[in-house]
C-alpha cells in the first residue's frame, strides 16, 4: 500500500493535466482576493461619494467588514476549479495503469484490489491536501497584504478550517473521477462522465431544490430556498445532494460571512457524507472491471 501511495504522488507531481488545473486554481484564488479588495475599495468610495452628495446618511456598511470578506470568492473557485482539478486527478490516476497496461503487473503481485484502490485514493488525498495547503498559504498571505497587517489569529484559524473543509469535498470528487477512470471503456468518456456529473451537482440539483437560476449559483452566497409550495419539501430531500451549495453554507459560516443563512451542521454532514459514501462505494469496483480494456 505504501508503494502505491508513493507511486501515486510521484505520478501526480509529474503529470501535466492535474498540474495545469492546479496552476489555474492557484492563480484564481490569488486573483480573487485581489478582486475582492478592488471591489471593496470601489464600493466604499461609491458610498463616500453618495454621502458627500447628501443622498444618504447611513453608516458605511463596508468600513467594518472583516478581512475574511476577501476570501469569499475563494469558495466559488474551490467549487468551480478545485473540484474539477480533483476530478481530473482521479481520472488520470485510475486510467494511468489501464493505459500502460501495468494494472496486470500490479494485480499479479500480492496486492489486494482494495489496497490498490485505497492506496491510490490516499495518494490523491495527500496530493490534494498539499495543494490546498499551498493555496491556503497564498490566500492568507495575499489577504494579509491587502489588509495591511497580520490578521487576528482567530481569522487565520478560520481560513485554515475553511481550506480543511474543502478537502472532503475535493476528495469526494476525486473518487467520482476514479470511478469513471476505473469503469469507463473509453478514455474520453472517463473524462466526460464525471465532468457531466459535476455540472449536474453544481447547476442542476440546486436549481430543482431552490428555484435558483443556474447563473445565480456562481454567487458565493447561496440563495435561500423559495418558501412555500413544494420547495421546502423538495429542498429538504434534494438539498443535501447539492454538495457544492452545502459547501457554500458551511464555508460562509466558517468565514463569518453575515449574509449566509442555512443549517451549518446539516451542511457539514452533507459534505462529509459525500466523501465517506463515495470512498465506500469505490471499494465495490470489481477486479475484472479494473482490468477492462480501454478502447478507441
Amino acid at each position: 500500500m505504501k508503494a502505491i501511495i508513493r507511486q501515486e504522488l510521484l505520478a501526480l507531481s509529474r503529470e501535466r493535466l492535474p498540474l495545469m488545473l492546479f496552476t489555474v486554481f492557484v492563480s484564481m484564488i490569488s486573483v480573487s482576493s485581489l478582486i475582492g479588495f478592488l471591489t471593496k475599495t470601489t464600493v466604499s468610495d461609491v458610498w463616500i461619494r453618495t454621502r458627500e452628495a447628501g443622498l444618504t446618511s447611513a453608516p458605511n456598511p463596508f468600513a467594518s467588514l472583516s478581512p475574511l470578506y476577501y476570501a469569499r470568492n475563494s469558495i466559488i473557485y474551490i467549487i468551480l476549479v478545485g473540484t474539477l482539478m480533483a476530478i481530473i486527478a482521479g481520472v488520470s490516476s485510475a486510467l494511468r495503469d489501464r493505459k500502460a497496461a501495468t494494472i496486470d503487473l500490479i494485480l499479479s503481485r500480492p496486492t489486494s484490489r482494495s489496497a490498490y484502490i485505497y492506496g491510490k485514493l490516499i495518494g490523491i488525498t495527500i496530493w490534494l491536501s498539499l495543494s490546498l495547503f499551498l493555496v491556503g498559504v497564498i490566500a492568507a498571505v495575499v489577504i494579509s497584504i491587502i489588509f495591511g497587517a497580520a490578521l487576528p489569529a482567530s481569522d487565520y484559524a478560520r481560513l485554515a478550517v475553511f481550506f480543511l473543509l474543502a478537502l472532503p469535498l475535493l476528495s469526494g470528487f476525486a473518487v467520482i473521477g476514479m470511478f469513471a477512470g476505473l469503469l469507463s471503456k473509453r478514455e474520453t468518456s472517463a473524462l466526460l462522465l464525471p465532468i457531466s456529473f459535476w455540472a449536474f451537482v453544481t447547476f442542476v440539483i440546486p436549481q430543482i431544490g431552490t428555484a435558483a437560476r443556474p447563473v445565480a449559483l456562481l454567487n458565493p452566497v447561496p440563495l435561500p430556498p423559495t418558501s412555500g409550495g413544494p420547495f421546502g419539501a423538495l429542498n429538504f430531500f434534494i438539498g443535501p445532494f447539492a454538495v457544492s451549495e452545502q459547501f457554500k453554507v458551511a464555508s460562509g459560516k466558517i468565514l463569518n460571512d453575515p449574509d449566509i443563512s442555512g443549517d451549518f451542521s446539516k451542511a457539514i454532514i452533507s459534505i462529509l457524507g459525500f466523501a465517506v459514501l463515495t470512498s465506500f462505494l469505490i471499494s465495490m469496483v470489481k477486479r475484472t472491471s479494473i482490468r477492462g480494456v480501454l478502447s478507441e
Binding site: L55, V204, L218
Partner: protein, 323 residues
C-alpha cells in the same frame, strides 16, 4: 460538395449512434424542461402568497398597494437559457472535440487524406454536420421548454413572442457554434487528445464561469443583497451621477465582460426574452436596436472561431499531430 455531404452524413450518423452523446443531449433536455416546471411552480407560489397578502389586507379594510405579480411566459425560460449558456457550451465543446478526436484515435485520418478530397472537405463536412445538430438541438430545447411553459405554467404566447423565440434560437445556435469551432481547433492542433479536452474545458471554465462571475462580483451594486442603491434608496439619475466618478473602474469591468462571448449571448437572449426589465414587452425593433452590438459580437466570435477552425483543421496539422 458531394464529398462534404458524405463527411457530414457520416458525422451525424456517428452522433446518432453514440450512446454517450445522446444521453448528454437527452439529459440537457430533461434538465431544461424541469427548470421551466420549477419556474412555473415558483411563480404559482408567489402568486398565491400575493393573494393571501391581499386577502389579509382586504379583511382589515385596506386595498393592497403592491401590484400583482405578472406572468411573462418567456421569463419562465430563463433557467433553460442559462443552462444553454453553461452546459450547452460544455456539450458543444464535447461534440466538437469528439468530431476530431474520433478520427485521430481510429487512425482513419490517413484513409481520408489518401483520397482525392480538398483541404477543407473534412472540416467543412464536420462543422456542417455539427451546425445542423445544434440547430436541431436548440430548436427542440426552445420548443420543448416553451410547450412546458404553456402547459405547466398556463402561459399564453403572442405572435411577437414567436418572433422573439426565433431570434433566441438563432442566438443560441451561433453561441453553440462558437464553442464547437473552438473545440475543433484545439483538438486539431493539440498533440495529445486528453490535453486538448482539458484545455478546452479550462477555457470554458474561464470564459463561461469565471469572467462573468468576476464581472458580477465587481459590480458595486451587487455588493449588498438587493442592490446597493436600492438599499440606500437612491434614484436612478443620482446613481448614474455617483457612478460617473468611477468610469475607470466600470470600464475595466465592462472590458472584462465583453471579452466573454457568454456575456454577449446572455445580454442578447435576456433582452429578446424580456428578462432584462428595460426590454420587457418592447417591440422587437427596439430590442434589436439595443442589443445590436451583442448580436454583432456573437456573429464576429462565430466567424472568427469558424475561420480559425477551418485553417487549423487541415490535413497537414492533423497528420502532424495524429497518434
Amino acid at each position: 460538395m458531394n464529398k462534404i455531404f458524405s463527411v457530414a452524413r457520416m458525422e451525424i450518423l456517428d452522433i446518432r449512434r453514440s450512446k454517450l452523446m445522446l444521453s448528454l443531449l437527452g439529459f440537457f433536455l430533461i434538465a431544461a424542461i424541469v427548470s421551466v416546471v420549477v419556474a412555473s411552480i415558483d411563480f404559482g407560489v408567489k402568486a398565491d402568497a400575493y393573494k393571501t397578502y391581499t386577502d389579509a389586507l382586504a379583511a382589515s379594510g385596506i386595498t393592497n398597494p403592491a401590484t400583482a405579480p405578472q406572468l411573462f411566459p418567456l421569463h419562465l425560460m430563463r433557467a433553460a437559457i442559462e443552462y444553454l449558456e453553461i452546459l450547452g457550451a460544455l456539450f458543444a465543446i464535447i461534440l466538437g472535440y469528439a468530431a476530431i478526436a474520433k478520427e485521430k484515435q481510429r487512425g482513419t485520418l490517413s484513409l481520408l487524406f489518401t483520397r482525392p478530397i480538398g483541404n477543407f472537405t473534412l472540416v467543412l463536412g464536420k462543422l456542417g454536420a455539427l451546425a445542423l445538430v445544434w440547430l436541431a438541438f436548440v430548436s427542440i430545447v426552445v420548443l420543448a421548454t416553451m410547450l412546458t411553459a404553456v402547459i405547466a405554467g398556463h402561459a399564453q404566447l403572442s405572435a411577437t413572442d414567436v418572433g422573439r423565440l426565433l431570434l433566441t434560437i438563432l442566438g443560441a445556435w451561433i453561441y453553440l457554434l462558437v464553442w464547437t469551432a473552438v473545440a475543433v481547433s484545439i483538438a486539431s492542433t493539440s498533440k495529445k487528445l486528453t490535453t486538448a479536452l482539458i484545455v478546452s474545458i479550462v477555457l470554458w471554465l474561464l470564459v463561461v464561469l469565471v469572467i462573468p462571475q468576476v464581472g458580477d462580483t465587481m459590480d458595486p451594486d451587487n455588493q449588498v443583497p438587493g442592490g446597493l442603491f436600492k438599499s440606500l434608496q437612491i434614484a436612478k439619475p443620482d446613481e448614474t451621477a455617483v457612478l460617473a466618478n468611477f468610469t475607470g473602474y466600470n470600464s475595466a469591468r465592462d472590458a472584462l465582460e465583453i471579452s466573454s462571448v457568454t456575456k454577449h449571448f446572455e445580454r442578447y437572449t435576456f433582452a429578446f426574452l424580456g428578462i432584462k426589465d428595460q426590454y420587457n414587452q418592447q417591440p422587437i425593433g427596439t430590442v434589436w436596436a439595443g442589443v445590436f452590438i451583442n448580436a454583432l459580437a456573437l456573429w464576429l466570435f462565430a466567424i472568427g472561431t469558424l475561420v480559425i477552425s477551418l485553417f487549423t483543421t487541415k490535413p497537414k496539422t492533423l497528420l502532424r499531430t495524429s497518434k
